[in-house]
Amino acid sequence: MVSYVIKRIAESIPTIIIGITLTFLVIHLSPGDPGSRFMDPSQPSEYREILQNRFGLNDALHIQYIKWLKQVLFHFDFGNSFYNGKPASGMVFSALRPTMLLAICSLIFALIVGIFLGIIAAVYRDALPDRILTAKMMFFFSTPSFWLGIMLLGIFSIKLGWFPASHLTSLYHDQLNWSGRFADYVHHLILPVITLGLPLSATFYRYIRTGMIEALESEYILASRARGLSVSKLLFHYSLKNSLIPLISVLGITIPALLSGALVVEVIFSLPGLGRTMVSAVFSRDYPIILAASTLAFVTVIVGNLLADVIYSMVDPRIRIKTQGVL
């Protein structure tokens, strides 16, 4: 297992390097001057040169690239933001925390909702509850999260004022005791988590429903049923366990999608996460931040995939890592 994990990590390093190299090329070859936003007509035009120097944009592209790569690999230094001079790695790491919080909460929310409703639908298969749920889930599966977000924000936050419309915590968060802080987080996270999690839960729902139906009809379940095992035991012990396995294989694919989704949700709910950092960095051509954020995003995806694979092989002893090609 350990050697497998090491092998996977080694395999993913070229992926990351290719990714960030492409990112580097894209941003440096694109037209326009990131320094121009710091200029105004009252400044002497030589200031442009000074800015170019300050940002290290005067060297030839390959020299810039080698310099940058050396810094990243040997010093873990992604440079400083053009915008505010802060170290890019620090900015991006502090932005990763809210994103992870949002993503993990949404994933848990989606799993709970998807599994629960999937079981109900499978038990009441083709009856009214199943049909209603399947139609509902089709709706959520097809709903763009930004629209869901705007609607939730408009209704529950702006119109009704039940939930805060932005940020992860209240201003007086630090004044609260631990239970108050927890409640504060929950209060702020409910709408974003629903926005990000609901469309995802629809995916999980489909897998669970199909898996459960298959499992419930399988011979060994029918046999256990004949032996008089209780229905709840059957549901949770036998069927669910088996239908969870394909779900875990989906988790790996879900992670890039979660990050992409978080980007939009963070913009809507003004959350200080990686996605919003990326959006504003792209708009302001803040090269170091763009590079640091993309690198972190790639690494997150790869680590997430690895975790999903490891969990997968732990849950299903039959498979044991063999499926690496599929994931």
């Binding site: 694109s30 037209p31 326009g32 001057d33 990131p34 320094g35 121009s36 936003r37 710091f38 200029m39 105004d40 007509p41 009252s42 400044q43 002497p44 035009s45 030589e46 200031y47 442009r48 000074i50 800015l51 300050r54 400083n80 915008y83 505010n84 001079g85 802060k86 170290p87 900015m91 502090s94 932005a95 924000l153 936050s157 702006i158 004022g161 805060p164 419309a165 932005s166 940020h167 992860l168 915590t169 201003l171 007086y172 004044q175 913009v267 809507i268 709910f269 003004s270 200080p272 919003r276 950092t277 504003s280 708009f283 302001s284 051509r285």
Partner: protein, 580 residues
């Protein structure tokens, strides 16, 4: 050269409060000026759309950064509401030398930096060195051009020596916040942009920097050892980042945010309506701001210009670079396009009435402004069509678009992406010009490309953007031939008459003569139309009514925050949470 425009400072104060709003406030709080009732405490939450880029006065560019800096740092003296006289701040007083070539400042001696170190004359000298260091690139560097040297006579006396006599000497001397030498002396000017200081500033102002949560909040707290004893009254000021406008507005309404400096006019009007009906605690405040929008035409042919630039021959006269643009090379065409625009409708639509149509170059806020000097191009599409047909533009192929020599009158109007007002204005202009058969394609370009490439290389047809004006102003970077190749002279306007007027105005010291030159410049530019000026905007701000003693005028929102206070019985939930 900037300082020669000293007369710009002598400006009329326009619209401080929107009249009705102002009246109501005074009615509601008749007792707020009674000093006995002033109590300390309370928290002000300021909603901001983007994080400040830096809290270092040398590097700050955005309005947000400047606002926060104005609370943490102090100048030698602050300009008064009349934009003519100054109130001492860090200086106790000052005297001009008999030859009027130097000013001697006597400094306050009881001022402490926020870290407890005493403030001294060395800080003033150090600040001057930093401000004039080209590697740092302070954006106010032109203020210091007239200064020869700054010397500390002793710990509390500083002398500013000038190259020549000018009416703006005091202004030039006091411009810029004073920096702590004991902290910044160890930072090289190349590393200034990534100094720790930029994120945890130490100043002498009424509020101390306390903390900065990335992308969330910046907290300032009361400086208990502020040199004006008893001030400030507020416990803390929190700047809260809320990028989304809807969020910001809803938080303002719900009391989560107390102050927003720059509201969208549409939201401002809605707030004002509620305020006037007495249904709201949010006091809307509007005043003439510093921003105007315009269309810049490219007067020369971009391809020809690029070819000439490629020759890299510095000896070529400017005329060689100029091949008139096939559309906008002709002044008459520009005037026709201007007449085809319904500026009144455009102004009102995109600003919801919170702007004034603008016909000439001089910002309304300056007293050099003289509407009578401008050439007025009325909204008259018929006349515009007539002029265009005189210029050879007519719809010969009956496709609804004017053409000349087989070239249809089609061009791109570029504007900065992400600015709703400009996007809307461009779309309206497209519609208005379509009515006379001119086909405009608006194109949104992100700023780095627009200001970094398209404008500096004059690679565009027409551009719709805006300028922010300072209290001094100078048109040379925009229109004078000496700046023909610099990034902001993107229209390619070249007029020897303008050059001579500009030069003449800078040589004169007589305010009446300068005003005359200025009127002539206004007349010339509004006749030649390198720009078509669209409108001058009013600032739309709002603050919760529980804050008393608030002065807001064209100098901005944060003129006297050390005087603001909140009566105990009006304290909000947030005020109490921080106290309890």
């Amino acid at each position: 050269m900037k300082s020669l425009f000293y007369f710009c400072l002598i400006c009329a104060i326009l619209l401080i409060y929107s009249c009705d709003g102002g009246k109501k406030v005074s009615r509601r709080s008749t007792s707020e000026f009674n000093p006995i009732k002033i109590v300390n405490g309370g928290t002000l939450v300021v909603g901001i759309r983007a994080e400040p880029e830096s809290l270092n006065p040398l590097l700050a560019l955005s309005q947000t950064s400047r606002n926060i800096i104005s609370l943490v740092f102090r100048r030698l003296a602050d300009i008064n509401e009349d934009l003519r006289t100054f109130t001492p701040v860090l200086a106790k007083n000052w005297t001009f030398s008999p030859d009027s070539l130097s000013i001697t400042f006597n400094l306050k001696t009881d001022v402490l930096w926020h870290d407890g170190m005493p403030f001294s004359a060395a800080d003033i000298v150090f600040t001057y060195q930093m401000q004039t260091d080209p590697a740092i690139g302070w954006d106010g560097i032109s203020f210091k051009e007239t200064i020869r040297s700054v010397d500390a006579l002793d710990d509390s006396t500083v002398v500013f020596l000038f190259h020549r006599k000018s009416p703006a000497m005091l202004m030039d001397a006091v411009e810029g916040y004073i920096l702590p030498e004991h902290i910044l002396a160890s930072v090289s000017s190349e590393d200034m942009h990534k100094a720790e200081f930029n994120r945890r500033p130490v100043g002498t102002g009424p509020f101390k920097f306390q903390g900065w949560k990335d992308q969330q909040t910046i907290t300032l707290v009361r400086n208990n050892s502020y040199y004006e004893t008893g001030k400030p009254h507020l416990d803390r000021i929190i700047f809260k980042v809320v990028p989304d406008n809807i969020n910001l507005l809803s938080q303002l309404k719900s009391g989560e945010v107390d102050l927003v400096e720059s509201l969208y006019p549409r939201d401002f009007q809605a707030l004002s309506a509620k305020w006037e009906q007495g249904q709201s605690n949010i006091r809307p405040v509007s005043y003439l701001g510093r921003r105007y929008d315009f269309i810049g035409w490219n007067l020369i042919d971009p391809d020809h210009y690029r070819q000439k630039l490629k020759q890299e021959d510095n000896s070529l006269p400017i005329e060689d670079y100029i091949l008139p643009n096939r559309f906008f090379g002709s002044r008459k065409v520009r005037s026709a396009l201007t007449m085809a625009l319904d500026r009144e409708a455009l102004t009102n639509a995109v600003n919801y009435g919170m702007a004034i149509p603008m016909h000439g170059p001089v910002p309304l806020i300056l007293n050099a402004y003289n509407e009578a000097a401008n050439v007025h191009w009325p909204y008259d599409p018929q006349q515009a069509l007539r002029i265009l047909s005189e210029e050879g533009w007519s719809d010969t192929d009956k496709d609804g678009i004017l053409d000349k020599d087989g070239i249809p009158f089609e061009f791109e109007l570029i504007t900065e992406s992400g600015n709703t007002r400009w996007e809307q204005a461009a779309t309206i202009i497209q519609d208005q010009l379509a009515k006379i058969g001119v086909h405009v394609s608006p194109r949104l370009v992100e700023p780095a490309l627009l200001y970094g490439k398209l404008l500096p290389l004059k690679e565009f047809d027409a551009v719709l953007i805006g300028w922010v004006v300072g209290l001094t102003m100078d048109y040379a970077p925009l229109f004078h031939s000496s700046s023909f190749f610099t990034p902001f002279h993107f229209t390619g306007y070249y007029s020897s008459k303008y050059d001579s007027l500009d030069d003449a105005s800078k040589k004169s010291f007589n305010p009446a003569v300068i005003q005359k030159y200025y009127d002539e410049i206004a007349g010339l530019l509004s006749h030649d139309l390198p720009y078509t000026w669209l409108y001058y905007r009013q600032e739309c701000s709002a603050i919760h009514v529980r804050f008393k003693n608030v002065t807001i005028d064209k100098r901005g929102m944060f003129i006297n925050p050390e005087d603001w206070w909140v009566p105990v019985k009006e304290r909000s939930r947030i005020d109490k949470l921080f106290e309890g």
